[in-house]
Symmetry: C2
Subunit: 309 residues, 2 copies
């Protein structure tokens, strides 16, 4: 395996503890990855008491848990319903203060010294918003591209749009685009048009049609969504076409409805490659250029930068 | 009971057979209701073979099923996945032709002569839409208010906006507003903010705030939806407030995004009183006046008008 030897080199542990998953990386003194571990024990599955055991269990074959070791954690582990609440920083927020504003849950019977980084929030009445995990990716983006200032888009279940100025988040907003796709696909009348295999040659065409309509008329989303169903009833659209159209409508509406955020700079898209590619295509319809940044790269760069700060 | 005697007076049967429910009314020679029956045996629960038995079973204690009797049916019984498909009329559609374009399923071993009215569709590419049942209510609205021409809004799981000119539907569109509320309330992350009793004194305030935001920025719906969650996390909003806010956001976005349909005429709202009252409140924020028309009154008036035509 060789991992035991590599594991011996870890100087500290970087952890991304989200709603669905937990990932941990041993980082050596040079900042390289010494080992990586992951599990499906995300916040959504855990009671408060379970966190220490899950963490030590995940790391047990990689490190000597009794030896002193720092663990820096970002994500939903710091939510109110997580391990230990790490109160939000208020936006505009200086991301250099992330580690200093972290909280330290106890990991009994281990040498692990854990710190959970805070999320960032907007408290302005009517514009309230929250993020947990993306702030670390934004700090990572700054580390990867120090001079960057402008809009960053982070596609996902809950997409984040943030304006970054160096190490500061000046504002951000969340769009429920990915989750809307999932609940509509699974639970609404549109599911009848989205049965069976959803990947197919028609999907790209459906996406293009949906994205065009979403960008063009984001204000009509509650109505255009029904076109998924009507299109399959009347025009015989295939399930892949309908899936692409629904995805395009939602992503297009997210982008079209927030086009006032665009500033002409190249937009970093932080997320999975597949989803970011769809966003890139939709942004291109508005003439906006984008660049895909791997989400894991950004998370790791952010945890390293937080530790260094 | 007295119903047997009343039932003897029915000259024909009016039926509204929807996705969730089945309702039947015996109509006497003067056009008055002789009896009413209902059941939960909507299209969603039935196989094609089950329809005749459900219909005769529902009417068995009210009429002599062996005697000749016309039954006029509107709604989802005429869908492809219903009893017998009644092909759509194309919009613009003349509603006087509804009965002539109906289909006649056989009701074996009974004297019932059933006719299912067609729905109406829009086939224009990219604007495809369908209705089944609402066309009958629109014909009923014409019967109740013969001179009416203008926008009619029919709030519901799938809200319909239609432009009526006498007995013609010139155009219409469906908004998935009611279903969006249900799937988001039940299946999305917003459910955490919508636990427990949702009726409470805060609900009206939440509705007003949501409707204002939805009307003002319908194009930002994918983002403002998340404010439901953020508002409860950061501002301690109650579950009734959040429920009102979500409902207001969605209804407001439906209305705000289609404000180009408004023509200055008083808008008939055809639906349940509770839901129509919310729509009336939101339309009033745009300065539009409305009038609530009971959905059952419209359905019955429409079935009578279709029979008379």
């Amino acid at each position: 395996m060789g991992e035991w030897i590599l594991a011996g080199q870890a100087a500290w542990i970087a952890v991304d503890w989200g709603t669905s998953n937990l990932r941990a990386w041993g980082i050596d003194v040079k900042g390289e990855i010494a080992f990586a571990r992951s599990s499906d024990q995300g916040m959504g599955k855990l009671t408060r008491d379970a966190y220490p055991g899950v963490l030590t269990g995940l790391l047990s074959d990689a490190i000597d848990s009794a030896a002193p070791m720092d663990v820096l954690i970002c994500g939903m582990a710091g939510a109110r319903q997580g391990w230990l609440e790490a109160p939000y920083l208020d936006a505009p927020a200086d991301l250099r203060s992330l580690a200093a504003r972290g909280v330290s849950p106890v990991v009994p019977g281990s040498g692990l010294a854990a710190t959970i980084l805070p999320g960032v929030c907007v408290r302005t009445a009517g514009a309230e918003d929250v993020m947990r995990g993306e702030e670390t990716q934004l700090l990572g983006l700054h580390a990867l591209q120090p001079g960057f200032a402008g809009l960053v888009v982070m596609p996902g279940t809950h997409s984040k749009w943030a304006t970054l100025e160096g190490e500061r988040i000046t504002r951000f907003s969340t769009a429920m685009t990915g989750e809307l796709f999932e609940v509509l696909r699974t639970h609404s009348v549109l599911r009848h048009s989205l049965q069976g295999e959803l990947d197919g040659p028609d999907r790209a065409e459906g996406f293009g049609a949906g994205a065009a309509q979403g960008i063009d008329a984001p204000q009509r989303l509650t109505a255009t969504l029904f076109k998924v169903r009507a299109g399959s009833l009347l025009a015989g659209r295939s399930a892949p076409w309908c899936a692409g159209f629904l995805s395009g409508l939602l992503i297009g509406a997210e982008i079209g409805g927030q086009r006032d955020w665009l500033s002409g700079t190249e937009i970093p898209l932080v997320g999975s490659t597949g989803l970011c590619t769809l966003y890139a295509q939709a942004f291109a319809m508005l003439g906006a250029s984008t660049r895909i940044v791997d989400a894991t790269d950004a998370t790791l760069a952010g945890l390293k930068a937080a530790r260094a700060a």
